[in-house]
């Protein structure tokens, strides 16, 4: 599904070049559930953002769904991204001014999907996550776990083939975290959605099929479970 070849990322900081990612090679197949682990500041988020095309590598080759991403123009890249990728954040990043329903609906609007179809899709999703009763609430009225559920529902609404989750359970207690992980596992198993998550918890990492350890901008190890 995706392949990173010799990917590096530098930042210029007052004359010094800081290397964040260093010659990273990574292949992920469709249907995998990958957990990325590593100490803080090791470059996990940067790696995930590059995979998600939110960030560009300084060097290297990036292939996604058989397209050479590093050669694509901004426009086709964002089209590719819009079609296949869904993002889940540690800080949820729901839009405060929109209700649960509207938050989930928003990506569909950007895909120019008709109102009636949107209604059906969002209703399905609310059903599936059992948050129908909360659909008219605003994010501030929800607990962290509920907000993250909405965040995932929003990421899933466009039926992405790849979910990228950066510490999705970082702000949640362990019980809420477990629920989210169960959900990921189910998505991976039943819906064949490829998932790449960053996590600090060994326990959560084990929900995945492979654990990658990142250290100082390099992939230190990769274990299949």
């Amino acid at each position: 599904m995706l392949s990173l070849k010799n990917i590096s990322k530098y930042y210029q900081a007052g004359g010094n070049k800081i290397s964040v990612l260093n010659n990273v090679n990574l292949d992920v197949d469709a249907g995998e559930f990958v957990s990325i682990m590593g100490p803080s500041g090791s470059g996990k988020s940067t790696l995930l953002n590059i995979i998600g095309m939110l960030d560009e590598p300084s060097e290297g080759y990036h292939y996604f769904m058989n397209e050479a991403v590093h050669q694509l123009k901004e426009k086709s890249r964002s089209a590719l991204y819009k079609e296949y990728i869904g993002f889940v954040f540690q800080a949820y990043h729901l839009i405060d001014e929109l209700t649960v329903y509207e938050n989930i609906e928003t990506p569909l609007i950007y895909q120019n999907i008709k109102s009636a179809e949107r209604k059906a899709l969002v209703a399905d999703m609310l059903d599936r996550f059992q948050i129908v009763g909360k659909k008219d609430l605003f994010p501030a009225q929800l607990s962290g776990g509920q907000q993250q559920l909405v965040g995932i529902a929003r990421a899933l609404i466009t039926k992405p083939r790849l979910i990228l989750a950066d510490e999705p359970t970082g702000n949640l207690n362990s019980k809420q975290g477990e629920e989210i992980m169960e959900l990921f596992r189910k998505l991976n198993k039943e819906d064949k959605v490829t998932i790449i998550q960053v996590t600090h918890s060994e326990k959560n990492a084990e929900y995945g099929s492979r654990i990658i350890d990142v250290l100082d901008g390099k992939i230190d190890s990769s274990r299949n479970l």
């Binding site: 990043h93 990506p107 950007y110």
Partner: protein, 807 residues
């Protein structure tokens, strides 16, 4: 998609109620003022356009240079209208007007003084659009002693408009037959009459002289003819008609006359331009002034700019808080154009609400504005025709303009940068925002300086020594009503113990009696050293009543019988004459058209110049001779109890003639009335300046609040580290004060230059003083500081634990 934008916009606006309120109110206030000004400007520009033939009507003006002075007159010779119609095929019709004072109109046994009389040729109703309700417009003014009156007057005197055939008794002597009733003339008309008297009633209208100019003459051109072509034929006509008469009067051919530098030049002005652009001698009434229209428009634009800048500034400031939303939306797949559309939609929405509030404010302020501007503006169905499209245009243009910066700025964010929270920091010192604040304050300071300069000039006019004393002078008007008893009345008044002195003449600095004349230093009337001068008929009490100083010679004296041929001249006239000692010299005046008879006046005194015209003009030549002129009696009063005195004078008046209306005024009030335009402008300027400053302060207030909010955490940390309230207030205020200082540097020279130009319109002026600029600068800083410190102090007083807890 659009609904989604609106929803977010609406909720986000609701969440930031304070910002939204400041934003909406600031813009609404600015728009309201603009609307009022636009109303005013449209009213000023719509003058005389009610005439269906407006595009084909022109007035013929006469520029005359004679005896060293040149003047433009709105009047032309009596026979010219007929000549134009006879000699030029492109002139379809020509109509003359003549204003000749006011009349007393009999109603029951009461006499009412009416002022809006005008003599007019019979064609007036086919040239101008004065729809006639009853009567025949073609023949109404054909016969002598015929009068056409307006609906208003018909109702006033007869309680009916069906009055054709009835008579009006004027001045208690002459009966006029009413031959027509016309609709009231629209307010937006430079011709402002209630009574049209048939021109043929006036003997002067049949005189053949081309040398006297007394008739406002309007021509209706045939469709398709070129007024420029017509104008080019004027010189030949003038020469043909003036030459023989000139030969008769001053024994000089027209060619020789022009060789001395003198001339008569006819020109035309389009009807629609008269109100705003014409300011000649003998206009039908006071006209507007296109300069004030421009100044108003400039102010409107300034205020609109300030309001828009505010709007942009506050939207941008607030939008920093929405950077995260932009980031999330981008991650969710929003294209940049969607974000731009979203922010524009939001901005347009706010503008729309502001515009609606602005309309309400403008509507509410209209009566006050009318009072200040001396107008009767109203929102009518007619104004809706332009108002509705204008409002839509305003909403779109301002909405897009004000929304464009946040729209393009925000939508350009990189999503991960935003989501990492990097933006807020980099957003603090936005250059554009500083620039906009400077821009706003420059305008405000400009307006403050302008206001101060106008105010100063008005005060200067009030306090300037005019060479005569206008206080404690009661002016009783129109002693013509007393006939030969006028002199008796004066003598009786002079006997009263409260009266210091009194003078009988209409020729005073504050009344509009004027008489220009040409005097010659030789009995042969040699044009070369002619003196073109005002020549006033006064009595021997004039100089003393008005406290005019004599420099040389003496005042008129009752004891000297020869003083009937004596003359007093002012310093300017003395200078113009160019004589070493003008005392006892003689000046000659022709008595008839042919100049067969001349009258010589010998100069017995020279008086100090006094400002008998407005302070816009320099004092010009003035000569005074004895003569009984009954236009007014000016009474210098000793007593302080004016009302009691006035009623005693009125009693005296009634004892002479109980049927005549007693009219009076005070000379100092009349003087002030001369500067009413300036007073008005001054008031309007002050109000607009205040509003501009309020709007600018609203913006600054919002920005300060925003800056304080942005720096809450920093302030908290500083306080924990031991910073005092005052140092934090200073830290927060300094950034803005710096911007205000820059504004002063920019605005002061510009304002100085602009106001210097304005002052050139006054021959007598108070030049701009340094303290005006200093005051404006200090004022702006103080205002800005007060505005900001409100927010700064609030921020500085917050308990640091509160602001740091969220981290």
């Amino acid at each position: 998609m659009f609904r989604n934008y609106i929803k977010t916009a609406f909720r986000s606006l609701k969440k930031n109620k304070g910002f939204t309120l400041i934003n909406v109110l600031g813009l609404a206030l600015g728009l309201a003022i603009c609307l009022l000004i636009v109303f005013y400007v449209i009213d000023e520009m719509s003058y005389d356009r009610y005439n269906l033939n407006a595009d084909r009507i022109y007035r013929v003006n006469n520029d005359i240079k004679f005896g060293g002075s040149e003047n433009s007159y709105a009047v032309a010779p009596a026979p010219m209208a007929a000549a134009l119609q006879a000699e030029f095929p492109e002139v379809e019709k020509a109509v003359r007007f003549r204003q000749n004072g006011s009349f007393r109109v009999k109603k029951g046994n009461q006499d009412i003084q009416e002022h809006h009389f005008i003599y007019a040729d019979p064609d007036v109703f086919s040239v101008f659009t004065f729809p006639m309700l009853s009567g025949d417009p073609n023949t109404a003014l054909k016969d002598p002693k015929a009068v056409v009156i307006t609906e208003r007057m018909a109702n006033k005197y007869f309680n009916s408009t069906n009055v054709v055939g009835k008579t009006l008794l004027l001045d208690d002597t002459v009966n006029f037959k009413i031959t027509g009733v016309i609709k009231d003339i629209p307010k937006q008309s430079h011709i402002n009459a209630d009574f049209f008297i048939s021109m043929i009633t006036l003997a002067e209208s049949k005189e053949p002289s081309w040398l006297n100019n007394n008739f406002q003459t309007y021509i209706l051109l045939k469709p398709g003819s070129d007024v420029k072509v017509l104008e080019s034929k004027f010189p030949k006509m003038v020469k043909e008609h003036v030459d023989p008469q000139l030969q008769n009067v001053i024994h000089m051919s027209y060619d020789d006359f022009t060789k001395t530098g003198s001339y008569f030049k006819l020109s035309t002005i389009a009807l629609k331009r008269i109100h705003l652009e014409s300011n000649m001698q003998a206009e039908l009434g006071p006209n507007g002034n296109i300069r004030y229209v421009y100044i108003f428009l400039a102010i409107a634009l300034f205020i609109l700019l300030i309001a828009c800048v505010n709007f942009m500034n506050l939207s941008t400031a607030r939008s920093a808080n929405r950077a995260r939303e932009v980031g999330v939306r981008k991650v969710l797949g929003s294209a940049r154009k969607h974000l731009i559309a979203q922010f524009l939609a939001e901005s347009i929405m706010v503008t729309m609400v502001s515009t609606i509030i602005a309309l309400i404010i403008a509507w509410g302020l209209l009566p006050i504005f009318n009072q200040m501007a001396g107008k009767e503006l109203s929102i009518s169905m007619q104004s809706l025709v332009w108002l509705v499209p204008a409002v839509i245009a305003i909403i779109l243009v301002i909405g897009c303009l004000a929304g464009s910066y946040p729209a393009f700025f925000l939508s350009g964010f990189q999503p991960i940068e935003v989501l990492k929270g990097k933006l807020a920091a980099g957003f603090k010192g936005g250059f554009l925002r500083s620039f906009l604040v400077v821009f706003q304050f420059s305008i405000s300071i400009f307006l403050i300086i302008g206001t101060l300069v106008i105010y100063n000039q008005l005060k200067y006019i009030q306090n300037k020594d005019l060479g005569y004393n206008r206080s404690h002078i009661l002016v009783v008007k129109n002693l013509y009503a007393l006939g030969n008893q006028a002199k008796t009345f004066k003598d009786e008044i002079k006997q009263m113990p409260e009266v210091a002195n009194a003078t009988l003449t209409g020729y005073t600095p504050t009344m509009d009696y004027r008489n220009s004349n040409s005097l010659f230093q030789t009995a042969t009337l040699d044009v070369k050293n002619a003196l073109n001068t005002q020549m006033w008929y006064v009595d021997e009490d004039y100089v003393n009543t008005l406290d005019i100083k004599m420099i040389k010679g003496r005042n008129f004296s009752k004891q000297m019988l020869t003083d009937s041929l004596a003359m007093i001249i002012n310093e300017s006239a003395a200078k113009k004459l160019g004589l070493a000692d003008p005392l006892d010299k003689t000046l000659y005046m022709p008595l008839d058209q042919q100049a067969k008879h001349v009258k010589g006046y010998h100069i017995i005194g020279i008086m100090k110049d006094f400002n008998f015209n407005t302070l816009r003009e320099n004092v010009s030549s003035l000569t005074m001779v004895l003569g009984e002129e009954r236009g007014a009696l000016s009474i210098r009063v000793k007593s302080a109890d004016m009302p009691a005195f006035v009623s005693r004078v009125e009693k005296q008046w009634k004892s002479i003639n109980p049927n005549q209306q007693f009219e009076y005024s005070f000379m100092d009030e009349d003087f002030d009335a001369t500067y009413r335009t300036e007073q008005r402008m001054g008031k309007i300027f002050v109000s607009f300046t205040s509003l501009a400053i309020i709007i600018a302060c609203l913006g600054l207030f919002g920005l300060a609040a925003y800056a304080a909010e942005q720096r809450t955490k920093e302030i908290g940390i500083r306080k924990v580290l031991g910073a005092g309230v005052s140092s934090i207030v200073a830290m927060l205020s300094l950034d803005f004060i710096k911007l205000v200082l820059i504004s002063i540097v920019i605005a002061a020279p510009l304002a100085w230059f602009a106001m210097h130009q304005w002052l050139q319109g006054y021959a007598y002026r108070q030049n701009i003083q340094w303290w005006v600029i200093a005051l404006a600068g200090v004022g702006a800083i103080v205002i800005a500081f007060v505005t900001i410190s409100f927010q700064s102090i609030k921020a500085a007083l917050i308990n640091p634990v509160k602001s740091l807890r969220s981290e």
